[in-house]
């Protein structure tokens, strides 16, 4: 599907000019995933497949509830199950809906070399515009959450769109619509943060002192947030990063180094040009020819 002419970009990959942004008065949205209310039924995962017309290849049972075992180009959201024995020796079944976090400062977009292949709308959604994707895999290196996957058939990168097509039309994302327990909520980021606060107060009162909101500041916050019973240890939940941030290696690669490098290359070329202007070419002189002839005569001319 071509770009919807959204005219509400706040970021556009590999672009040095301001992208079309006149319609930028949207409110920021967020999806709130309340892990404590999730029953692991995977209705959201099915709804995602259905709305987006995605069919992953049928795999084999691996001895885990995770199905498939990892995100793939056709699996944009995935329930990840963790069995954790807590300090009291009780089993806790931690279930997390994995997928793109829609970072406020998206590492994928920062790393992308193709103009307009990744955009961020004023509502905060980070979207891949596949027509512009060149399949290099830089977004994978940029992402702190290991989310994008490249389809080997068309060499395009895919991930959750936060149902940008539905959201533009005033609908909530498909996963939100399908969730039978209300564990996935969708609305403005302010409302979702407030709602999370109520949920956390409730969890606190029921003995989860460390319950909290996962909206990691290292990536400027996210437009997909979690309510976690153990917000002090996000990595319990199938390796959710404790303090995600764009890797400093990516920062160095994509930062000031690039313009400086281009300036350096231009300076080298200019130095050559001005050397030519000032000193000029190094030409063989008649004396050189004469000396060479003398030398060769003296040592017997080569044939």
């Amino acid at each position: 599907m071509p770009d919807l002419q959204s005219q509400d970009y706040i970021r556009r990959s590999a672009s040095t000019l301001t992208p079309p942004s006149i319609r930028n008065h949207e409110q920021e949205v967020a999806k709130l995933i309340d892990v404590s209310r999730c029953i692991g039924c995977k209705a959201c995962q099915s709804a995602c497949m259905e709305w987006n017309d995605l069919r992953s290849e049928v795999g084999r049972f691996q001895g885990s509830y995770d199905n498939p075992m990892d995100l793939d180009p056709s699996t944009w959201t995935l329930m990840r199950f963790t069995e954790w024995e807590n300090e009291q020796g009780n089993l806790e079944w931690l279930i997390r809906k994995d997928g793109c976090m829609h970072c406020e400062d998206p590492g994928c977009l920062k790393a992308c070399p193709a103009p307009g292949a990744i955009v961020q709308y004023a509502n905060g959604i980070v979207d891949f515009i596949s027509a512009n994707c060149i399949g290099c895999g830089y977004c994978i290196k940029g992402c702190p959450f290991d989310i994008p996957r490249i389809n080997p058939v068309d060499r395009k990168s895919y991930k959750c769109t936060l149902c940008s097509d539905r959201v533009t039309a005033g609908l909530e994302p498909a996963c939100v619509k399908a969730c039978p327990t209300g564990a996935i909520m969708f609305g403005t980021k302010t409302d979702m943060t407030r709602w999370a606060g109520e949920r956390i107060a409730d969890l606190n009162s029921r003995g989860f002192q460390n319950a909290g909101l996962y909206d990691p500041p290292g990536v400027g916050g996210t437009h997909v947030m979690y309510v976690l019973h153990h917000a002090d240890r996000p990595s319990l939940y199938a390796g959710l990063p404790d303090a995600p941030r764009i890797s400093p290696l990516v920062g160095a690669w994509k930062g000031l180094f690039k313009p400086l490098a281009l300036a350096g290359i231009a300076a080298a070329a200019l130095a050559g040009f001005f050397h030519w202007v000032v000193v000029g070419r190094n030409e063989v002189q008649p004396e050189d020819d004469a000396e060479a002839q003398r030398l060769m005569r003296d040592s017997g001319e080569p044939k």
Partner: protein, 224 residues
Amino acid sequence: MTHPKGTLRRNTTAARINHWITGGCFVLLVLSGLAMFHPMLFWLSELFGGGQWTRAIHPWIGIVLLVSYAGMIVQFWRDNHWSRQDAAWMRAIGSVLGNDERAIPEVDRFNAGQKFVFWAMALLVPALFLTGIVIWDAYFSPYTTIEQQRLAALIHSLLAVTAIVVWIVHVYAALWVRGSVRAMTQGYVTPGWAWRHHRAWLRRLAASGSEGPRPRVSTGRQRQ
């Protein structure tokens, strides 16, 4: 391999073909690499049929470059050993840049600047190849961690910029020193050119009665 009478053979036909395959690959790699390096240069991808093609073709050209440069190393390394005179030449770099030949020590087949370009590329090309493999997502992404790929991407781009600067020095030197380009296109130079720029090389050729590019290995065999 014909060359006008009275001139000296500077580079064999094989060396010249090898050189221009290397140079062609390098230029294509610079253009396709820079397209992905900075948004201002993404338009270069149109030269390769668009972004997808640019991304896909760049590493394959890299493989040809690696093989081709290996050939260059085989053909040229013997004349690129570092020597004491090279240090003296380096110290006289001001005179070199000022076209003041009298103050520069005699140079054999290659001067210290040429040797520098040779060895710099001998390191840069394999290093670019190794880091390039790590970020060749289509075929090699399963063999490394994402963190290793991040590092490889950073190093690849740093090395690329270094290689481009070395290459600019190389190209400018060839244009600046009149007669050098012909040495790599038609393959020959005049004795005057050799006297001016590579006097020790000329002396060795003259002494053994060779027309170049290397002196005759005289095992008692007579010149005809």
